[in-house]
Symmetry: C2
Subunit: 589 residues, 2 copies
């Protein structure tokens, strides 16, 4: 070992000991004839001192240390005269006897501080320096602790972690696959898994009973802000269970994580809300319940007063922003601009302020007299000082989603979305299907193996769009951290499902034959769920993006700018794979 | 839940309880008016009983259960009259009140028994049925327990598990990469990692200090018996350490696993042997030390007696097969055939039996008188009843490898390679380079980042082939379970290494620029190792192949016969990737 101790562990009790530390030079300060070095490693920072009067050569060496030099220091632990209560090692310092440079460093391209001067691009290119920053490193430590606790919890319940292959077959009915050309089977391709969905179901057929895996998954999608082409899933499946068993098991896991990782004891059961209610009251299948501001439908209240926009609307809904009546005209105009942005696409916004005396003043006063506005106030349960915001539109679902954006923005503006407060929720009873305009057919909302609710099975023929599924999402603070379903284990029902989804029996056999065959040999009732690890870690870390809880993330073009991947391939490699590039449209250095 | 208990947990103490079990029908036996069902799940088998005299309909239902039907049984736990001491639930049985078929099964294509009638091909195609067999399932359970213990041990020492990306850049100086075409960067490719080697080194530069990861790795090689295109590595790296620190840390981990998984307490330090000694005494860099039979060099002893084969040999070596003098001429001829097989390629074999009276009789008696043979006997430390086997050749290294095969075969024949006995060893001081006839240059034996031994650095210029490395392998029972090295952290030494390996500075920069750049910003001294998880699990499971400790392995053509992957791609997908297939040579259904 190049050290007797880490830079984070020495305390007053160690005073007098001779120690050796190794680490990176955070900074060097000269003060009179003395030099102070902050030596840093993963575990902390320890102050090193040299004194020109005691050892001129050593002091000189200390003065020549540059930022991020790797140094080994031997010396004696001593109580500090000026203690620093802000750091765990702040009571002591090391009086150096020797300093050895293990490796020098060029001046780093950005400062290795929590508040760095490095921009995103630069930080990603030099990610190995970025990770030296405690702000990034802490997220990786958190991620490690979370996966350890997930494994500990599930292992305790008899779950087996089983690795499923990465080189699998292409799965239709999902996002686009990344593919891997096979050299031994030229002209053929493996796919990288979008999730181990079918394999974990096969493990249930195999009698594994309780399976989990923390596993990389891949989706070749055009990347949005919070998407990565490779991401990590906590993937779980159980046999001989009903939906409540899954929910109880994994609510237990969530509570375990909250307790172990965040020190929060959640004693109440998580709220459960049907998908229909979530859409009705929050315009979202992942409502942020850290605050109320539920939608109130205002069709009866607001129609028939001559205001054409409302009179012709298919949906009118309002939210009550408690205590926001003080919003200025400018603020309200900004809110209107917010909902009119192309990402949201609303036509406008109606507001009504409740004055201190209880009277209501709205932006559509000419259509509504005070009686009508008081009826609105009553309906909205608004009190003096409250601000009512109303949206309408000719597509109820679309309008609800717009109102959802407004609600979230108001929550943000009013400080109701505290990162250290957590509101956990199960959304249940998702619709089985959703209509795809692009495909002009019903698509599985979750996936084609999802079990319809027993009481809705008769509607599969008569009204498939109304069928609900045994599907559930775990939502925390408006983030869908996980979701899953009870699966179909009856091959006849599965065949019917494929039929509704527009598969011919031949096509179903071609694409899912291995699963349908497996189901002929005694599939147990089973179900499961999968968590997005990256998202969950971000949530616990209080990050806005998943990127900083991933050691080496890719940018929005799917590139690793540090490794400079992807890159062109040697012709020899292409030949071995029997591949030719048809039209290289882009080429980067 | 579809059950109150598993099929493995009921005991005498449960007698009288009403329980519900769910599982698979292992078998159904009729005995008089009674029917006995063995109901199986992952946890065990429980006997269910119905009686025609008590409930004729129920008994009839029981008689209609087929093999591998999924059934749910409710009944009362009762003490058995005829107990079965061979199964944990053998003291009880369930008197059924109701039997519900949860899912029927077609007749499985092979028996779900430890000793199945299914061949390899069939078992792989129906792997989900194969895994129902306890013989396979137990390996997956063992694998789970091993990874849990590895994580527990390393977490306890402050190692962080950090996920490195799967979509990386292609690495030269290794095996062939699997590649992944990029749609967003057409004409460019990612590679799947052969190991996270460079990334873990970057994590050390990043100050992570102690890293590990249980991670999938990929090599596109022509598959031999015990190779898979995707395999799992326990990948580890530490900073501020010397070779001994790594060896001590991971010897500790091995001992932890032996204790927790196999119940074996290894109290002695593992033997350490230089690569040179391993080659000299065992003809292998991974000697099986469960038995002795070390090579004895016989150049002085056997030369100069007129036996041309020996007189002209560059190497003559013998092994003493204790107590094997009883080997018949036929057995000895078979041994000769064994070493002459093309995989081994020796010309022949000389033997000498030591009789009960101490006289030696050899196959080359006409060249050696009894005095010469007694000298041989003394040199070989042979006693009455021993069999001396001698090989020679004009290439010492090649001959040693042949003699190694003979030694292993004799160990096998003499029952000295007990699967429940473990001999652990560190092989150290590997050569830095090995000559490649194909490339006509020195190649890195471990990899180009391996640190040369400090005392050998002066030889880098004068005699690079003689330079030894700070590299080490952990060998158990002749299996290399893991290996690693101390890495170069000095960019000048790294540049020199690339030069010796025949890289121009430009090529080194192109291929390893990101690593060499990183090393300019304060790389700590570091090193690590990686274990082959599949091999280690196989060793603990007593398996001859790694295949049955992998849930869904690929066959020797790299195919997953269950998923039927790889497969042809839609033209649409090829177009999106800007790829064309040049010459599909093979095509499978």
């Amino acid at each position: 070992m190049y050290r007797t101790n880490t830079c984070g562990e020495l305390r007053m009790a160690d005073a007098g000991k001779t120690v050796t530390l190794s680490g990176w030079v955070q900074r060097v300060r000269k003060l009179g004839g003395m030099t102070f070095i902050d030596l840093r490693d993963r575990y902390g920072i320890t102050q090193i001192v040299t004194n020109n009067e005691i050892d001129g050569a050593l002091n000189e060496a200390a003065n020549h240390l540059g930022r991020e030099y790797v140094a080994q220091v031997t010396g004696t632990v001593q109580e500090r005269t000026a203690k620093n209560p802000n750091m765990p090692t702040g009571d002591i310092e090391i009086i150096a006897d020797s300093i050895k440079v293990l490796n020098p460093s060029e001046v780093p391209p950005f400062t290795i501080e929590d508040d760095t001067d490095g921009g995103d691009e630069l930080r990603m290119k030099y990610r190995y320096l970025d990770i030296r920053r405690a702000a990034v490193r802490k997220n990786l430590e958190l991620r490690h602790r979370m996966t350890m606790e997930v494994r500990r919890y599930l292992d305790g319940l008899g779950f087996l972690e089983i690795e499923t292959p990465m080189l699998v077959g292409s799965t239709p009915e999902g996002a686009r696959d990344f593919v891997v050309p096979s050299r031994m089977n030229q002209g053929q391709f493996y796919a990288l898994p979008q999730s181990p969905q079918t394999l974990k179901q096969l493990l249930m057929v195999a009698g594994i009973d309780r399976y989990f895996q923390i596993v990389k998954c891949f989706r070749d999608e055009d990347l949005r802000a919070d998407r990565q082409p490779e991401f990590t899933q906590i993937d779980c499946e159980m046999s001989f269970i009903h939906q409540d068993d899954i929910i109880n098991t994994f609510e237990g896991m969530a509570k375990h994580l909250f307790k172990e990782i965040r020190g929060i004891e959640l004693t109440e059961p998580f709220q459960r809300m049907t998908w229909a209610d979530a859409m009705k009251y929050y315009g979202s299948d992942k409502p942020d319940l850290r605050f109320g501001m539920e939608f109130v439908e205002l069709m009866d209240t607001m129609k028939g007063h001559g205001f054409g926009v409302f009179d012709n609307a298919a949906y009118i809904g309002g939210i009550n922003a408690k205590g926001a009546a003080h919003y200025t005209r400018k603020q309200l105009d900004q809110l209107t601009e917010f909902v009119k942005r192309s990402q949201i696409g609303a036509k406008g916004l109606v507001y009504a302020r409740v004055g201190e005396d209880g009277t209501v003043k709205s932006s559509v006063d000419k259509f509504y007299d005070q009686d009508a506005l008081q009826a609105l106030r009553k309906k909205m349960n608004a009190e003096p000082g409250d601000l009512i915001l109303i949206m309408s539109g000719d597509d109820a679902m679309k309008t609800r989603k717009q109102l959802c954006e407004l609600r979230l923005e108001m929550g943000r503006q009013l400080g109701l979305r505290d990162k250290n407060k957590f509101a956990c929720l199960w959304v249940v009873d998702f619709p089985m299907f959703e209509w795809s305009d692009e495909e002009q057919r019903l698509m599985a909302m979750h996936h084609p193996f999802t079990n319809p609710k027993a009481e809705d099975i008769p509607m599969l023929d008569s009204d498939p769009a109304a069928v609900r599924a045994d599907a559930y999402d775990m939502v925390i603070n408006g983030v869908e951290v996980g979701g899953g379903s009870i699966r179909i284990h009856d091959s006849k029902l599965q065949a019917k499902m494929f039929e509704i989804l527009g598969f011919t029996p031949e096509k179903a056999q071609e694409q899912f034959g291995f699963l349908m065959n497996a189901f002929k040999y005694g599939a147990p009732p089973h179900g499961g769920l999968a968590y997005g690890l990256d998202r969950w870690v971000s949530l616990f870390a209080g990050l806005d993006s998943i990127r900083d809880c991933i050691a080496f993330p890719k940018n929005n073009s799917g590139r690793d700018v540090m490794l400079d991947a992807p890159a062109a391939l040697d012709q020899k490699q292409l030949d071995e794979l029997a591949l030719a590039i048809v039209k290289p449209e882009k080429k980067e250095a």
